[in-house]
Symmetry: C2
DNA sequence: CGCTAGTACGGTACTAAGTACCGTAGCGAA
DNA sequence: TTCGCTACGGTACTTAGTACCGTACTAGCG
């Protein structure tokens, strides 16, 4: 098993945090448990909290790249999918995400770090949005509001999932993002062609459309 | 001048941070500059960062009290005035707020602390809003979105002011809060109408519908 | 007046995070 | 082999934060 030193440190840290608690675990213990020296820990992670958020930089780059591909007509879905990248990453982490959540709920220092991470995502979205809305009235403000809405909706769904595993997570996510974007302003009319009358979110509408289309000629 | 020890510590800390920078200033220096022992510092402030945010607890209580007085017909103004309480507090601080801002802009540890403080306000707003929207569909999510919008609008105006003093601050604030609430207040469309002309099989149409719906909020 | 209880303070000693620096083992390329 | 690079371990240090103890001051009460 050629696991890298960095990964061994992450595993060791999560194990010790889970068994002893965060505050009661020292960096020396983490390093020892991973079979390396203390210096090596700080070479891989800038602080004790950082070992809990080892992938945010990668995910940030991913989201940044996705948002950068947006065109004026695809911005809405770029925002959706940008947020989905973050959500999916948490899902991929699986149990680790849940163990970390338990820490963020109880340890102030970890919670602050988590908030800092969230803030970076929000600023990333806001930066792209600011570019998109540069011409509009109150562009910078609207950019920040939209970014805040997306992050808030994302976190809302994520927290629900972290608390108790639920099956319809993706649907919930689409619903929440839909509400966030819908609350934020009317979109220009599109030149689309199909139709549906009826209420509900995207998934509901799609279900209705599918039903109508498959039932009719 | 019967200034209390706590206040002397605050003044000493701000002075030293301004002259030497945050990291280069030790708690010992702050205590010595205030003419007290190191122990006394930690009796008054839980941490070195805390001395920079000495009044948040009071303001939080104030805002809490204001929001608690809201009736179903006055909620909008309660939100406005709740945010105004926070803004006014920063204005009262005057130069101290601006000196702190300089630190939050440059020192990561201070910035994280600031974000934690902001988060407490947002959660306070969200808590009240959640109570107000308890009956509504997606109440908790909408509560968080609204709280996020208010805090974001507030911070947007505040940051502008902290960067460069501007005269029409209050007007800007009302404008920003207005946009935030307006964006959120817009009643969600109860009927969604999408029109598709043209043929194609069911799956093709469904794909078009999905694309249209996800592209335009 | 003397006595007592509470409060604020100073000092000492300790733990642990984070930094700086030095030395060294491995490893691929010239 | 030798050079250069990278990763690692060890030591020593600074500083935030905690725990604990002793003491001065003050208010209240006999």
């Amino acid at each position: 098993m050629p696991t890298t030193t960095r990964e061994r440190l992450i595993v060791a840290a999560f194990d010790l945090f889970a068994s002893q608690g965060y505050d009661a675990t020292t960096v020396d213990q983490i390093a020892a448990h991973a079979g390396v020296g203390r210096t090596t820990f700080f070479r891989n992670f800038a602080s004790k909290e950082d070992v809990l958020f080892p992938h945010h930089d990668d995910v940030l780059r991913e989201v940044d790249a996705r948002l950068a591909t947006a065109t004026p007509t695809t911005r809405s879905s770029a925002l959706r999918e940008g947020a989905r990248i973050v959500l999916d990453h948490y899902l991929d982490e699986g149990d680790a995400a849940r163990r970390r959540y338990r820490l963020t709920s109880t340890v102030p220092a970890v919670r602050e770090r988590e908030m800092a991470a969230v803030h970076r995502y929000q600023r990333l979205f806001a930066r792209h949005l600011a570019g998109w809305l540069a011409e509009e009235e109150d562009g910078p403000l609207r950019a920040e509001l939209t970014a805040a809405a997306i992050i808030t909706a994302h976190n809302h769904v994520l927290r629900n999932w972290l608390r108790d595993d639920r099956a319809d997570l993706i649907e919930e996510f689409e619903h929440a993002i839909g509400i966030a974007l819908e609350m934020l302003g009317a979109s220009p009319p599109t030149r689309t062609t199909v139709v549906v009358t009826g209420g509900g979110d995207v998934e509901t509408i799609l279900r209705d459309v599918r039903e109508a289309l498959t039932r009719a000629p």
